[in-house]
Amino acid sequence: MEEARTMQVDLGNLMAFDSGHHFPSLPSSREELIEKCLEKGTELVQAVADALFNLPSTEDVDGPIVKLPPPTTKLPREKHLPKPKPPTKWELFAKAKGIKNRKKDKVVYDEQTGTWKRRYGYDRVNDDRDVPILEAKATDEVGSDPFAERRAEKKKRVEKQNKNRLQNLKQVVKAHALPSHIQLAATALPITGTQAAPKKVSKDELGNVAGLAATATASGGKFDKKLPGEKKPKHEQKHRKFLPVAEGKGQGSKEKEQTDRVLNKLLAKNSHEILNVDKAVSMYNVKKEKKRSKQKRDDSSNSSKLKPQKKVQKKPFKKGSAKKGSEKKGKSK
């Protein structure tokens, strides 16, 4: 069986392909088929393992580690190749002038202290802060602080460098070759691979922002300086109105009015439980009339037998009585 000839092994992908095999006749049952597949599969996996375990390995805590060769199968990329970034201004200048980059050592010998110090960073060689004395030059003004001047100069240099760096980045953006970490930092997205547009705030939201911020102040934003064109808040922020403590001129009896209002409201709510005076009076009158007419008839029909006359109980009708229907109208038989 010329298996070895038709076997292709891609070690970088741990893949084996046997193109020479074909099923002359399909096995009758599923189990047999699976068995055959596994049998053949085992052969292929063994072939890959043969190549794999024969690679030079380094011992590690978890086990032997081998360096896999790159995969041989050609597969399409998922993203385009990164575009080359345009050279920076310094790079262009250096190329024109023929300046080559010289490799610098991380530690430099410091003459002053006689030790080896870092070229940059903590405890560096030419630190600006280390100079104790600066000799005055003839060009110096009388009151100027040379140390402060040196610090200001350093700051200016750093700012200039930063500005140049940003200008270079702008060129890179134009050429669509921005490195991914900078693009992520610029748009600050949690999800990779997105070009998120900045969040658009609506006009209403912007209008409300000033109001929201104003409520945080003690006076509710009433005395905040308004920007030109800013409108007054939509509704008064105060939700409670207190009457003046002392009654002044023209105030009248506002407190009395307020309490009256409250009282009337309460009465109106409970009115179905309170006595309707007019109705009670008219009912009484009607009853009285009926009784009188009845008595007249009785007198005429009956002899003057003494009838016990029940006393009419009249309860005083109080206006605004809050008792629940316990008021009994005077009933006379």
């Binding site: 893949m15 084996a16 599969g41 063994q46 024969n54 199968t73």
Partner: protein, 296 residues
């Protein structure tokens, strides 16, 4: 984030308007097999129709959002039951598609085996392709490539030999049917450093029946297959070998333009003008200072 060398595709697993129970388990199990490198969407997507011209915009949007350059789309219909569309993207646009139907599916849970053999999540698998169909039939060739990308995991340089514990076996039964199964590996002692491999089926296992497929057009294909290593094929110029002397190189010196050259040391003292000025000064003795020396 584009890089020179790519390390494996992230996969998006999603479904269409109608799925069957079987298809759901298939999608879930594929997700389990690819846990770290895949994203699972569980909602039903009506407007995803990869083979139709307008139906890919949603997919491309998802691909951009999740940074997934490969997708597995499951759907079920009377015409195409238990359908899986596996597709790849280039630059978040559809590159190619292959549609398969799933038959004879056996889920991971239906397999009984020694639990100690269970493959660890994220381990690099062995992949075996059996059958001449994978080379002779174009659709199968395409499917082989797609399955390789789907299951190979992350492309790594260093591999721990103690961690190899799974293998995928794909067998081409006919020109349109592939038997796919997932096995755990048992490494047995053999006389040599290479252990003896034993495959134990752990599932899932299924038959994939080829349906439609779409290959990329040539221009797109050429662009996607470009690699960084394509350019530096430069022949080393001006280098020759001599039997006696070994490697010989030719060096061409251009004509020197003395006027335009950059001087290596711009030491002030070396400048001709200054030299001449000095000489003149000495010659003139205590001559007036303002006289600048030298004619150029």
């Amino acid at each position: 984030m584009s890089s020179q060398v790519e390390t494996g595709r992230k996969t998006l697993i999603l479904q269409g308007m109608k799925t069957s129970g079987l298809l759901n388990s298939v999608l879930t199990e594929i997700y389990h097999l690819k846990k770290e490198s895949s994203v699972r969407y569980t909602r039903k997507n009506d407007n995803v129709r990869p083979f139709e011209s307008g139906g890919e915009t949603s997919l491309e949007f998802f691909s951009q959002k999740t940074d997934c350059s490969m997708f597995v789309f499951g759907s079920h219909s009377k015409k195409r039951p238990d359908n899986l569309i596996i597709g790849r993207m280039y630059d978040h646009h559809i590159y190619d598609l292959v549609e398969v139907g799933v038959e004879n599916f056996k889920s991971m849970e239906s397999f009984v085996y020694d639990k100690k053999l269970a493959p660890k999540m994220g381990s690099k698998p062995f992949i075996a392709f059996i059958g001449e169909g994978f080379e002779s039939v174009e659709e199968l060739k395409h499917l082989k490539e797609v399955l390789l990308e789907l299951f190979r995991g992350e492309v790594v340089e260093n591999l721990n030999l103690a961690g190899v514990d799974r293998a995928y076996v794909c067998t081409a039964l006919s020109s349109n049917r592939v038997v796919f199964t997932h096995c755990a590996l048992r490494l047995k002692k053999s006389g040599t450093i290479v252990p003896r491999m034993e495959l134990v089926e752990v599932g899932p296992s299924m038959d994939l029946v080829l349906r439609r497929h779409r290959l990329p057009n040539d221009g797109l294909r050429k662009e996607a297959m470009k690699t960084a290593a394509d350019k530096p094929k430069k022949k080393e110029k001006n280098v020759g070998r001599d039997v006696i002397q070994g490697k010989i190189g030719k060096v061409y010196i251009p004509d020197q333009q003395l006027g335009d050259m950059n001087l290596p040391n711009k030491a002030k003292g070396v400048k001709r003008e200054r030299r001449e000025a000095k000489m003149n000064k000495q010659a003139n003795g205590h001559a007036p200072k303002k006289q600048k020396g030298g004619s150029n």
